[in-house]
């Protein structure tokens, strides 16, 4: 009843009992939580900055990345902590890019055309070759992508964007003031890919060979 609990702050525990273990554990846990929270905040801040940069990259180039599910898994392993919504930058698949180049070379002689020094040729000669390139590129686009305009309205017409419009699909320029709905002139109707039909590659296929050297026997 009369027992007085004196608190001596200088006292060091001589025995290490369960209560102490629990106490130490709690302290460690709290510290860890604090660190994670801080790191998380820092990352989000960084992402927000980068996002605006990433948005400028063309939509079409990032699309083939849909195919590289495995790569996304790899990145997830690096960020182990269950940080709040880890944001992973999509890495464009190099295979898909190489594949597209290879298709353009095969069908349109794209690399041949770009790599050739055109300064020595007459416009008429370049014009002849352009037909091959144009026709082939057209074939590749039609065969492997379904491309549709973002907006179906006539270019030059006035259109009104409602509140909450998709800012990734429609870019505002010029005198951006006030609040939605915005009314403005459709300068460019935009392009979007609605379907991709890229050929699949065998395991051993070296996509870096865009066009094999040809030797006639």
């Amino acid at each position: 009843m009369n027992t007085l609990y004196t608190i001596d702050l200088s006292l060091k525990p001589t025995t290490f009992d369960l209560w102490h273990v629990c106490l130490a554990g709690t302290v460690a846990l709290l510290t860890l939580l604090l660190i994670i929270l801080l790191v998380g905040l820092l990352l989000t801040a960084l992402r927000c900055k980068k996002k605006s940069l990433a948005q400028t990259s063309d939509a079409a180039t990032s699309e083939p990345a849909i195919k590289i599910v495995e790569k996304i898994v790899e990145v997830e392993k690096v960020v182990q902590a269950p940080a709040p919504e880890p944001i992973i930058l999509k890495e464009a698949s190099s295979d898909a890019a190489l594949q597209l180049l290879s298709l353009l070379q095969q069908e349109a002689r794209f690399i041949d055309f770009i790599k050739e020094d055109i300064s020595t040729y007459e416009d008429a000669e370049i014009g002849i070759a352009t037909r091959v390139v144009h026709e082939g590129c057209n074939k590749v686009l039609n065969e492997h992508f379904t491309i549709a305009p973002v907006r179906t309205e006539q270019e030059g017409n006035k259109i009104t964007l409602p509140k909450g419009f998709d800012a990734a699909a429609v870019r505002l320029t010029g005198n951006i003031v006030g609040s939605a709905p915005f009314t403005g002139t459709l300068v460019h109707k935009g392009w979007q890919v609605t379907q991709i039909r890229l050929p699949k590659l065998t395991q051993s296929h070296n996509a870096a060979i865009l066009a094999a050297a040809e030797v006639e026997l």
Binding site: K67, I111, E125, I128, A129, T194, I196, P199, K200, H205
Partner: protein, 632 residues
């Protein structure tokens, strides 16, 4: 946004039911085994709503180039035999096989374009080519000794195998052998070629595949796509002419519309000859004319340039046909080396050239009495396909219609007037990629109508709404569906009467071989599942010794019954097919024993003709083989 890797990802409307999937076919599958392309189309057997028949065309995974697998609804019917050093290890693997036995499809056409000596093309036309053994390795015909050759039969099997494997890869729950499979063949295929097609199907495990004639399949597809409206577009008394001009062959058929108890009935009354003439000939014709023009300007073309030129002529031709505003299309033959700008050749193809060469060259305005010209083949001819010598499709058509004047004589509903000089079609259905070109289709119609107008007959109408590229496969799938009693069926039976040659009994005259008689063993229009016996004509056959008979077919003699003996016949009435062979096996008999047998012809449910030798004594039967084509 939703990115599908393939456009034609198959959506299964019904979940596979394990109980019924095994017992009953889930799909009706139609396979168009074309000369230049194969297509597979399929439809669910148990449609929820009979009015809403739904079908898909399979996107066939295939190698497009080494290491690249692409999906396309068409599988090019080409086979390539690569050199062992030609392709990198593992670059020919398909989703279902690390190393397929044969390279078929787009890659074969692609590689073969640059190395034609290793390319097998038009295997199907060889199947119907008299005088070669289709099971002996003869293709590629021009290949040097060291290249391993395949037989036309093996090539056909390889295309079917690819389709089967692709199917199993995409539909692992529904084995193809358990589905209702219909394979199309040209109407002009002879019994031996049909038999080989069925054998090829069996070699890939499709034991129950049925055969259907391509023009019939095209008509089925038209019926299906009209959604019941065909009954308004076709009337009793109509004669529908089906003109099927594919990449390599032209196939003609006549189908009569009659009425029975208030329902319209369709009967295939005649089929044309196997004409090796098609869209590829047109592209070549254009390429050669451009080549001649370039050579006049002093530019010599190498073979690879001619090939590139043929390709660009094909594209240019389509553009000119599809856009009435375009009068000329520049053609560029790109240089082979990496220098594209220097060294590319430019020329052009004008509307004028296209119309003179294709419209007037292949579809000339001719009289219905005209016959395709044929010059006697020169003695020295390399072994090759018997390509049509006259490129005028309208002349082949005129000859066909004139020859089939009496095709409908047995049908009361069809009135063929006394003064008619040819069988007058009242409706025309087109099939095959060539006729997508509006000007060609229009010209063909105008030629047919000019024949009709000359005899004061009403103009034939064009049945519209057919998908010219995929109709055959689609129609085949629909046929598998209507066989279950869900729609109209085309009757027809055999498209020819068949005869064996027997020597007439006459005293020997020195210096004269005994006269040959044709003994009818299967009449025209024998229905599937029926058989005809010929008990009064017996042959004594020796056990263990093969006996050969000359074998004939006639596409016009409709009145001959089984047992009819012909002493004389018109030159173009009866044509000789390959010999047939009977070998009586030695089971339980002494070799050398003579057994009296008679012949029995049956048309199987599958659609092939079967001949048997039947012994009168104990009714034992021996199969008569068709495909004994001698290699000479």
């Amino acid at each position: 946004m939703d990115y599908n890797e393939t456009e034609t990802s198959v959506t299964e409307s019904q979940a596979p039911e394990p109980n019924t999937a095994l017992a009953q076919p889930k799909f009706s599958v139609g396979i168009d085994l074309g000369t230049t392309h194969c297509v597979l189309s399929y439809a669910a057997m148990h449609q929820t709503d009979d009015d809403q028949y739904q079908q898909q065309t399979m996107a066939i995974p295939q190698l497009a180039s080494p290491g690249v697998v692409e999906e396309n609804v068409q599988l090019p019917s080409f086979l390539y035999q690569p050199h062992e050093a030609e392709l990198a290890e593992g670059s020919t693997s398909l989703p279902w096989s690390a190393k397929p036995a044969f390279l078929v499809g787009a890659i074969a056409r692609h590689l073969g374009g640059k190395t034609p000596i290793r390319l097998v093309a038009s295997a199907k036309s060889w199947l119907c080519h008299a005088g070669v053994d289709c099971k002996s390795p003869i293709l590629p015909a021009e290949a040097p000794e060291e290249i391993q050759r395949v037989s036309p039969f093996q090539a056909t099997t390889a295309y079917l195998q690819h389709l089967c494997d692709a199917w199993h890869y995409l539909h692992p729950e529904a084995p193809l052998a358990k589905q209702d499979v219909v394979i199309t063949v040209p109407a002009s295929f002879d019994p031996a070629a049909r038999e080989l097609t069925v054998e090829a199907a069996k070699a890939t495990g499709l034991d129950h595949a049925l055969l259907l004639e391509e023009p019939q399949a095209a008509l089925y597809s038209w019926i299906e796509s009209s959604h019941g409206d065909w009954r308004n577009q076709a009337q009793c008394g109509d004669v529908i002419l089906v003109v099927d001009i594919g990449g390599g062959t032209t196939d003609l058929s006549l189908i009569a519309v009659t009425e029975n108890e208030g329902n319209l009935e369709l009967t295939r009354v005649a089929v044309g000859d196997h004409i090796l003439l098609g869209g590829d000939n047109m592209d070549l014709a254009l390429a050669y004319s451009v080549k001649a023009k370039l050579e006049n300007q002093g530019k010599r073309l190498e073979s690879w340039q001619l090939q590139a030129l043929t390709h660009s002529c094909r594209d240019a031709k389509e553009k000119i046909f599809n856009n009435p505003d375009i009068d000329n299309i520049p053609l560029v033959i790109a240089n082979r080396s990496s220098s594209l700008i220097g060294g590319s050749l430019r020329t052009e193809l004008t509307r004028n050239v296209v119309s003179t060469l294709l419209v007037d060259g292949f579809f000339p305005q001719v009289a219905v009495t005209d016959k395709p010209f044929s010059r006697t083949r020169t003695g020295l001819r390399t072994a090759g396909l018997p390509y049509a010598q006259d490129a005028a499709i309208t002349r082949h058509l005129a000859a066909f219609l004139a020859k089939q004047l009496n095709a409908t004589s047995e049908l009361k509903a069809i009135h063929s007037p006394e003064n008619a000089t040819f069988l007058r079609p009242t409706a025309v259905l087109f099939n095959g990629g060539v006729l997508k070109a509006q000007s060609l289709a229009e010209r063909l119609m105008s030629v047919i109508n000019s024949w009709l107008a000359a005899e004061q007959a009403p103009a034939a109408r064009l049945l519209s709404g057919a998908d010219l590229d995929l109709a055959v496969a689609k129609g085949a799938a629909y046929y598998g569906y209507v066989r279950k009693g869900k729609g109209v069926r085309i009757k027809g039976g055999t498209a020819a009467a068949y005869y064996v040659g027997v020597e007439s009994a006459m005293p020997a005259v020195p210096g004269m071989s005994p006269e040959l008689q044709a003994l009818c063993i299967a009449p025209f229009g024998m229905e599937e599942g029926t058989q005809e016996e010929l008990p009064n004509d017996e042959f004594g056959l020796v056990i263990g010794e093969p006996v050969r008979f000359r074998f004939f077919g006639s596409k016009t003699r409709r009145e001959d019954k089984v047992g009819t003996r012909l002493d004389h016949w018109g030159e173009d009435e009866i044509s000789e097919l390959d010999e047939i062979e009977i070998t009586l096996s030695e089971e339980g008999r002494r070799p050398g024993e003579v057994v009296p047998v008679h012949l029995c012809a049956a048309v199987t449910e599958i659609g092939t003709l079967e001949l048997h030798a039947v012994s009168k004594k104990d009714n034992s039967r021996w199969k008569v083989e068709f495909d004994v084509r001698s290699g000479d």
